[in-house]
């Protein structure tokens, strides 16, 4: 895992509460608003499980700590989007709270119901970008959520040890979370993969 220069993080009393909101203007039309909201909720929950930070959906977009929206092309922050695939999204280091997704993508909230070859899983990208919002940079671990690339039609939402250790170094651990369960899970996966390779 890596951090932004200076290791910025959200400050505040523990347990820290951050509010978030999805832009009512900069959104996508082909996915129901409730489905987008539920998917973004799950993305925040992926991080809330491992750190003592609560994420609450704000009713007022302007006053939310984290502002999420779908933008196309040059949208005024100096980092224009590039159309289908290429750049999927970007987010800003703490305590900016801006999280932008490329409106040109074929966003999917359920890959099983989306037939497009270039469909991009919304929860996966949102989970990655929330990692940036919290202060993480990119990881060299291919399986980690914070690895910079994501192939179309791929779901990667489960935080790996690398992601967890990185974010917990910034915010501490959620008292209800046990890291060794994740370590065991990753070890089991690695053993299963090794066995499958041997077998083949």
């Amino acid at each position: 895992f890596t951090y932004f220069t200076g290791k910025p993080r959200w400050a505040g009393r523990k347990p820290l509460t951050l509010t978030y909101a999805i832009s009512p203007e900069h959104t996508i039309k082909y996915v129901a608003t409730a489905d987008v909201a539920a998917t973004i909720r799950r993305a925040f929950d992926n991080w809330a499980r491992v750190i003592p930070v609560r994420f609450e959906e704000a009713t007022n977009y302007e006053s939310a700590d984290v502002k999420l929206g779908f933008y196309g092309g040059d949208h005024g922050d100096g980092e224009p989007f590039d159309g289908v695939l290429g750049i999927l999204g970007h987010a800003f280091s703490p305590e900016s709270g801006r999280l932008h997704l490329d409106a040109a993508e074929q966003w999917a909230v359920d890959l099983g119901k989306e037939s497009s070859e270039v469909a991009v899983d919304l929860e996966s990208v949102a989970t990655h970008e929330i990692g940036h919002v919290l202060g993480l940079g990119h990881s060299a671990v291919k399986e980690a959520v914070m690895y910079p690339s994501l192939s179309p039609r791929t779901k990667k939402v489960e935080l790996k040890v690398d992601d967890i250790e990185g974010v917990q170094a910034l915010y501490g651990s959620n008292p209800n979370f046990r890291l060794n369960q994740t370590v065991q899970s990753e070890t089991s996966s690695a053993i299963a993969l090794r066995d499958a390779i041997k077998k083949s």
């Binding site: 999927l88 280091s93 991009v120 940079g137 990119h138």
Partner: protein
Amino acid sequence: KDDDQHRQALFRATQYNSNYTWRSFHRLLDLERGSRVDGLVGLKQYFVRFGYLISTNSADSVLSDAFDARLETAVLRYQASLGLPVTGKLDATTLSEVMAPRCGVPDLNPNRSRAAETVQR
């Protein structure tokens, strides 16, 4: 022969996963230091964008199609940063990763982005 088959399989996967923005990079397969190919400047701009190559001025080598020492260093950094085999060449594994859809935040020195400058203000 095995190597050729592996390369072909890998490249089919690359093309399936490749994005519209960087699709043309497939022409750069197997280039190494000393090569000169039209389109290499696009790859250099990619490495500038994601923090692997620093453009010092408008006349520097970033604007040329030569695979020079600076580009080789950028490729080495890229491979090391993303856990790829460190070869310094544009092998199939490296190009496959370059062409994959990705996050717009730079991998190295992310605070160099305008986003971070805004935060600092």
